[in-house]
Symmetry: C2
Subunit: 355 residues, 2 copies
DNA sequence: ATGAAAGCGCTAACAA
DNA sequence: TTGTTAGCGCTTTCAT
């Protein structure tokens, strides 16, 4: 009877069906489905009821096709970080992202990069318009991810200040918006705290050289201790083990040190272990400050760690907000040719017993 | 000049543009883009070149609209499990899923459920046709997720045999395909191993009652020890702490026990701790077998744990394969009205020093 | 306030 | 083998 063949039994109802049932046009049905602004209440009601009865759910692809909005954001996680999901750090950041994305009615599409071999696939995906934007984490400087993202021309926000050129606004490379903690400021605060305690020989256990967060913390240390003996700085890699090694090194070079600022709680706990093995009391003989406030560590050590806290979940949420701002074009205002702004979130010194 | 207005500078080239540039029809261009079967080589070349020069990338939404295929699969993770990402178990399973999905040119969309309040959102998403199917994990019996997925009418595969009715093929509820390890068989093997060692009073530390995997392991234990003293079974919840408590309980009830089969390595390690505190030697006085073979635990204990291994990554991959089979309709063959099959993967006893 | 109609970019019959 | 054409389901001017 009907001109158009009846829909297959398994297929979902379309807007058309809703409109028919409500006795309105597709346009009106669409308006109602999208908020119903400018439609008279009785009609709104009719359509709503039809939607209900038919169990209508908008077809995403069709909508995307015309609106050019996907309602999805990619979160790119490279293997080394994923491994670190055990690291409360990452879990928290992803949780923040997930929550904020939900608040923006967007979905999280997880792109798991296991190696450079996956870059092609990722690039194709990003370029294919599957997602409105991407969230990535600043990994090591030599990482190829940034350029992949750049080529895909997809709006992106980084977690952590990227270390490659262009990130800081170098002409040539586009400025990438990022969200980072105030690592430098936090480090300064940690060191100043140690000085305020009367400590005079404050050592530093630094994180990996190719991580901007680690380097920023060294810079903060140096900001306060302008003329610090280079021998007071030892290199670590953010692991417990490296913290222990670095501590041993420092003790060998400067047995007279009376304070240590470690660039991560994990390294601080390693340092603490060595300190105790050597019979040095914390904080009496050596005061110790960590960084991150990973409570599973900082509250568990004996004594608990004084450390620098960063609001990791908040940083995750901020990444999303920044991205949304870019997506909504609020960054491309005609007057200001300004690049999308990055955000530095404040840190906070958390005093516990170790310093 | 042209009938259609020139595309906006920012927009991506369409198939139309590629076709025009290659001097062919859209249909031919489409054919080439999708493999190029049945198109003569010279044309294929031309089109390929045009694609290259224009940097053409197919529009996903448009393609999905007509093919009704998304190339995306949702992985639904509820908060409690996400937390367990620290659990190598989950990380491995998701890795398996991710790899297999990639092999099938599908994307992983992570749906993170923080609580029952999220069910609506999840249901809407699943129903909206954003994904071709869903992968979920069998959580506790009272979980509402299964029904959400059922209502959304989206093909799904579960990790772990669901505990709710219908899962086992109860009429009324649709049978949900799942992938699970042979928990019962593995448990039997563990207990038989203990018996083969000459042990006569084998106790069991069971996992949570609302987890089918845990209950299956109890069943396996009972299969072998038909007339076991109920006092030889103690209740745990898969945590280290609960394993310790259960061990203490067992020792109080049956000081004469000479073997323990714990339903998880974590609980086994807790039991081990208590055993040693009581001055009991493992395996001399009490032989101990765990389950899971989480090497970070089983290889680290002293003595290392004899345990039952399951191929977790493989199970993840299998979940995807099963789903793909459903998606490709290979399960709906006219003749067989059979429900999509579930898969039970074999386990393997790994002998170390504890038994 | 509502409806008619024009596409969004692509695939898949169907023709040629 | 290639091209023509008809939609997929939706949003959005533009009329009314």
């Amino acid at each position: 009877m009907s001109r158009k063949p009846d829909p297959a039994p398994g297929s979902r109802p379309t807007l058309e069906a809703v409109a028919a049932r409500a006795g309105v046009s597709r346009a009106t049905a669409s308006r109602v489905v999208n908020g119903g602004a400018g439609v008279r209440p009785p009609l709104v009601d009719k359509v709503r009821r039809a939607v209900e009865e038919l169990g209508y759910v908008p077809n995403h692809a069709a909508r995307t096709l015309v609106t050019r909005r996907n309602g999805a954001v990619a979160v790119i996680i490279a293997e080394p970080e994923f491994r670190i999901f055990s690291d409360p750090f990452f879990e928290q950041q992803v949780r923040g992202i997930s929550r904020e994305l939900t608040a923006h009615d967007s979905q999280l599409v997880l792109l798991w990069v296991e190696g450079p071999g996956d870059y092609d696939r990722i690039g194709r995906y990003l370029g294919g318009g599957h997602v409105d934007g991407a969230l990535a984490f600043s990994v090591h400087n030599d990482d190829g991810l940034p350029s992949i993202i750049g080529r895909a021309q997809v709006p992106a926000v980084f977690g952590g200040r990227p270390g490659w050129p262009g990130a800081s606004g170098t002409p040539g490379g586009p400025a990438v918006p990022y969200v980072d903690a105030d690592n430098r400021g936090g480090a300064r605060e940690a060191v100043r705290h140690l000085l305020s305690l009367g400590r005079e020989r404050v050592a530093h256990i630094a994180g990996p050289r190719d991580l901007t967060s680690a380097m920023d913390r060294v810079d903060g240390y140096r900001d306060v201790l302008l003329d610090a003996d280079p021998g007071l700085i030892a290199q670590g890699d953010f692991t417990e083990e490296s913290g222990a090694r670095a501590m041993a090194e420092l003790l060998a070079r400067r047995p007279d040190l009376d304070a240590v600022f470690a660039a991560s709680d994990l390294m601080a706990s390693g340092a603490l272990r060595v300190l105790r093995e050597r019979g040095l009391r914390v904080p009496e003989d050596v005061a110790l400050v960590g960084f991150d406030d990973m409570t599973s560590i900082s509250e568990a050590t004996d004594p608990p760690l004084t450390t620098v806290r960063q609001d990791v979940e908040g940083m995750g949420r901020l990444m999303v907000r920044l991205l949304m701002r870019v997506l909504n074009g609020q960054e491309t205002e005609p007057g200001t040719g300004s690049a999308p702004g990055s955000v530095i979130t404040p840190t906070e010194l958390v005093r516990r017993a170790s310093a």
